[in-house]
């Protein structure tokens, strides 16, 4: 598992043996009487890609929100690089190296494409290096390069999603979290988005991606967790899960353990 990630992750060789990059233990999130997450535990190792799949309302977004600091959990612990993240505001989480691409493509519609990217580098002091990265991004995605001075709201859905991911990367995160990156996109565009994720991973960034699109999520991830009713029903690699009848059952909440739901 560690062999895949390659060089970029820094001290990941030792990190894997010592402690995972992100560690979640017994995380519980409640909205009034409704329990969205019920004692969830999982780890993301340095350089790993972890995906969480599950239907609507499974608790996927709550998980990311609790890690990022936009939702206050009722219980449990989240540690990132060995330090607790719970109770930290969102803007602080980013500074520690967790970037969140929220659901629904939050482009800053009336700012230009270039301004959107520059905003992504807000927390960085190496402005010149950030500017080079932005130019590099425009070379990789010429469509966006051509529209650098156009307002971001005029981009297509797929272009907006790429822009938001690139913006998140400009904060130089150690961990990138994505909430439903393929939602509402055509399959061809989704391919591009996932190709982008693959190259991000090559650069050594760990990824935690939440998806309804289970097939996609399985293919990209080192390990996939099936979340339903706030509980992890099943987990495994693509080889273990794809074609496994229990996987579908777990996804739809029909597995033996989930039968009570």
């Amino acid at each position: 598992m560690t062999a895949i990630a390659g060089q970029g992750g820094g001290r990941q060789g030792s990190a894997e043996t010592l402690a995972p990059l992100l560690s979640i233990r017994g995380l519980t999130v409640r909205y009034g009487p409704i329990t969205a997450l019920d004692g969830l535990s999982l780890d993301v190792g340095a350089g790993q890609v972890i995906s969480i799949v599950g239907p609507n309302g499974a608790g996927k977004s709550s998980l990311l929100a609790a890690i990022a600091g936009t939702v206050k959990p009722a219980g449990g612990q989240v540690t990132f690089k060995g330090q607790p993240t719970i109770g930290q505001p969102l803007e602080q989480t980013v500074r520690r190296g967790i970037a969140l691409v929220p659901e629904g493509r939050h482009v800053l519609a009336s700012l230009t494409v270039l301004e959107n990217l520059r905003l992504g580098a807000t927390i960085r002091r190496d402005t010149a290096e950030a500017a080079r990265e932005i130019e590099g991004f425009f070379k990789t995605f010429p469509i966006l390069g051509e529209r650098r001075n156009k307002s971001a709201g005029r981009l297509s859905g797929g272009e907006q999603q790429m822009l938001v991911i690139a913006r998140a990367l400009l904060s130089k995160p150690t961990l990138l979290m994505l909430d439903e990156p393929s939602l509402g996109l055509a399959p061809k565009i989704t391919d591009q988005i996932y190709a982008m994720l693959a190259s991000i991973r090559e650069a050594g960034v760990s990824i935690l991606v939440v998806e309804q699109n289970a097939a996609r999520a399985l293919r990209v991830a080192d390990r996939t967790y099936v979340l339903n009713g706030g509980i992890i029903r099943m987990s495994g690699t693509e080889a273990e899960l794809s074609g496994n009848p229990d996987f579908e059952a777990a996804y739809f909440g029909l597995a033996p353990r989930g039968g009570a739901q």
Binding site: L90, L108, S110, A168
Partner: protein, 369 residues
């Protein structure tokens, strides 16, 4: 697609980017300079009207620095102008004048006699300090909360200054300010204010603030500390607005607390909204446009004879205020981004490609798949 093709046959972005970025600033400074030069050829009455207009430009630019970049309502401009005006007045008036009008002034203040420049800076700094102190608690507010808080701040300034008789003369006029503000003083200050606003809006902090204006979660997700960035803008805004107050006092030579109240507040907000609160060009054009409109309406109110005929036209009094409100209403209904549509003045090519579609960009953003 058409836009990207015109991009390719046009200039190469990187080459002229540097100079191009200064075009919006140069255009606005050019407009103000032209107005000053033209007014210089006119009579004294016209010049006084133009000076008033330029002071309003400074005040609206000050308002824009905070409200335009952050998108948070601010109704406290008049209060900052009052603080700037009285601070400078008390520090620059001749001690003899002060002992006549303000006999109860503390001794050190009664003796203070700064040069106009230092007095003006002190006025701006005092307004900036007020922004800092008040801003710390209220910068977390946005929407209706911010509107009420800043309006209250303006009322507080009005009531405190109006009742602090020892310092301001209370409800009486304070007279005897050195009236050093002429056409060029007002014009140059307006140009400097525009430059300050322009330099500020090019900073990373201002970009972060505009990001938070568009989408608070996305901005925080990029690490923007919204309260801190708003506070910085509020302080710069307070300083510039305070300077506008200084000009006001030293132009008229007299001060009344009454002048810094609701009328002025709504005039400044109207100027910014009509011009377009999302661009510096909007602030400047709004201030100039509304000044011209009110001036024309004042002429109509007084009554004039149609040239070449014997018809004289005079409208009922109060038309000016009604027209101002109507202008605001029409803009909000039909062009919510203001006359400039939230754009800066750019060279023709990029203007044609952005202005047509820009007003709809906010909506199409989420609708595309």
């Amino acid at each position: 697609m058409a836009a990207s093709i015109s991009d390719r046959i046009g200039w190469r972005p990187a080459a002229r980017d540097g100079l191009r970025r200064l075009v919006p600033l140069a255009a606005l400074v050019g407009i103000v300079l032209t107005i000053v030069l033209l007014a210089g050829m006119g009579d004294i009455v016209l010049q006084r009207r133009v000076i008033f207009c330029l002071i309003h430009v400074v005040a609206v630019v000050g308002l824009y620095i905070f409200m335009g970049n952050s998108g948070v309502m601010n109704f406290s401009s008049a209060g900052f102008m009052a603080v700037g005006a009285y601070t400078s007045a008390l520090l620059t008036m001749a001690p003899g004048m002060k002992s006549t009008f303000l006999p109860d002034l503390p001794a050190w203040l009664a003796a203070a006699h700064l040069s106009p420049l230092w007095g003006a800076l002190a006025g701006g700094v005092m307004a900036g300090l007020m922004a800092l102190v008040i801003g710390i608690p209220i910068m977390r507010l946005s929407g209706i909360g911010a509107a009420i808080a800043t309006l209250s701040l303006m009322f507080i300034c009005y009531i405190v200054l109006g009742n602090w008789t020892a310092l301001t003369g209370g409800q009486q006029s304070l007279m005897g300010l050195p009236s050093y503000v002429g056409l060029w003083t007002a014009g140059l200050t307006a140009m400097v204010a525009i430059a300050v606003a322009f330099v500020y809006q090019e900073t990373r902090g201002a970009l972060a603030l505009r990001g938070s204006r568009e989408d608070e979660v996305a901005a925080r997700g990029s690490g923007v500390r919204i309260v801190r960035e708003r506070l910085a803008a509020f302080v710069v805004s307070g300083f510039v607005t305070g300077i506008a107050g200084v000009l006001y006092g030293h132009f008229l030579g007299t001060l009344r607390v009454e002048s810094f109240y609701l009328d002025l507040t709504f005039l400044l907000v109207t100027m910014l909204v009509v011009g377009g609160m999302r661009s510096l060009a909007g602030a400047v054009i709004g201030a100039i446009g509304i000044s011209i409109l009110t001036e024309l309406l004042r002429l109509v109110e007084v009554g004039f004879v149609l040239p070449g005929t014997s018809w004289s036209i005079a409208t009922p009094p109060g038309l000016g205020d009604v027209a101002l409100a109507a202008a605001m209403l029409l803009i909000i209904l039909f062009r919510p981004q203001g006359l400039t549509g939230g754009h800066e003045i750019e060279l023709p090519r990029s203007k044609t490609s952005t202005s047509g579609l820009a007003t709809t960009s906010g909506n199409t953003g989420t609708a595309n798949v």
